[in-house]
Amino acid sequence: MPYHLVGDDALFAYALRLGDNALVLAQRLGEWAGHGPILEEDLALTNVALDLVGHARLWLGYAGEVERQGRDADRLAYFRDQHEYRNVLLVERPNGNYADTTARQFLFDVWHLHVLQALGASRDERIAAIASKAAREVAYHVRRSGDWVLRLGDGTETSHARMQAAIDDAWPYTGELFAADAIDDELLEAGIACDPRSLYVPWNEHVSRVLTDATLVRPEDGWMHSGGKTGKHSEALGYLLAEMQSVARTVPALRW
């Protein structure tokens, strides 16, 4: 049975976007398990991933309820194809080296915390509840990733060079975080969503300050990649989902 978005339900899509960001990023962080540069970071990354998996379950669970087609979080996670995923492109980028992972995490974490803080005031009770809870956990994520940007940026010549390259490479994926489309606007008007455009100033202030402290150069804003929020993904997502979904798809009727 082919799965596809039913109608254009904005709330369903919005919850998917939040859940997919968390799920895809968690899957990426999970790839570091057993491969972390030091044991403490192996634990840290997998703990952050665990928080994000928890968020994904809550968001996708809510999306399934809103959709009313009998899909729960597991069904949505394991049986949607690439074009049905709604995460931003930034989180599906490969791990690269530790600086690449740190850059991706930090740039996302700052945005993520602001989004969750704003959604704590959503008129949708469930969104407000999930966001308030998640915000506390993401506050830890922001501190951790920011600390690593500082250590690597204001570190050795090698770490500095790699951290700068990582920021430069990830930068064109940040624009998508602040772009709003019809779904955002529809829910914004209903007092349910937050305005991604309004998050740019605080995000930019925080990120710029940390980059300066880390002796890194803030890249110029140029052309930005986009498409993830509407299901147009990079090649990388295909491999990620294939690995993530393979066990479930092997025995589709299995219930844990």
Binding site: L43, D51, L52, L113, V142, R143, P202, V210
Partner: protein
């Protein structure tokens, strides 16, 4: 044989016997996970509604705790049990009982301090960045210095080894007096 409906106070006692599966020294009541117990009429049956709240979003023990609650109550003769999972207000370590904190300490885990930070909506992220510039690692590292005390020797001369430990709720510390590492339950 006449079976009477258990009264709520008794049910709270039964729930107090359910240990946290990860840290069996404390109960789910000590953790502040159970937020309410009440009988309700559901059509033809009397159902017991138990309101619970998850600790961390990704805590893997929550499913086990929910199963333990249902199993315990069934074993005690409560036929119809409904679990209401409440996300709001979000769980905080401030809901942990004083008895629970002492049990943690005796078990070798440093208990959480009171949450001295502001609500998430007022965390000033720029403080974090500024703190880094002015070398205040405690702000960069976490919401508060978390003056933990060594659960073995009581010394407060401790240092953080890792802000993330074996479970999401704990951090890894080391006592510089007795030189032993210990887990610290983070304020949340």
């Amino acid at each position: 044989m006449v079976t009477r409906e258990a009264d709520v106070a008794e049910i709270w006692e039964w729930l107090g016997e359910i240990p946290d599966p990860e840290i069996p020294a404390i109960s789910i009541l000590d953790l502040g996970i159970v937020r309410g117990v009440a009988w309700s009429d559901e059509g033809a049956v009397r159902a017991l509604r138990v309101a619970v709240t998850p600790t961390y979003s990704g805590c893997p023990a929550i499913a086990a705790i929910e199963r333990d609650i249902v199993r315990t109550l069934h074993a005690r003769g409560v036929e119809h049990v409904r679990l209401d999972v409440r996300l709001a207000p979000p769980w905080t370590t401030d809901w942990m009982t004083a008895a629970g904190r002492e049990k943690l300490r005796r078990y070798g885990i440093s208990p959480p301090r009171p949450r001295a930070i502001a609500e998430p909506g007022t965390i000033d992220l720029l403080d974090v960045a500024q703190a880094a510039t002015h070398c205040h690692p405690e702000l960069v590292e976490g919401p508060l210095p978390e003056n933990a005390a060594c659960p073995r020797c009581g010394s407060s001369a401790v240092e953080v080894l890792s802000r993330f430990g074996s479970t999401p709720c704990k951090a890894l510390y080391r006592c510089t007096t007795c030189r032993e590492p210990f887990d610290h339950f983070k304020a949340h």
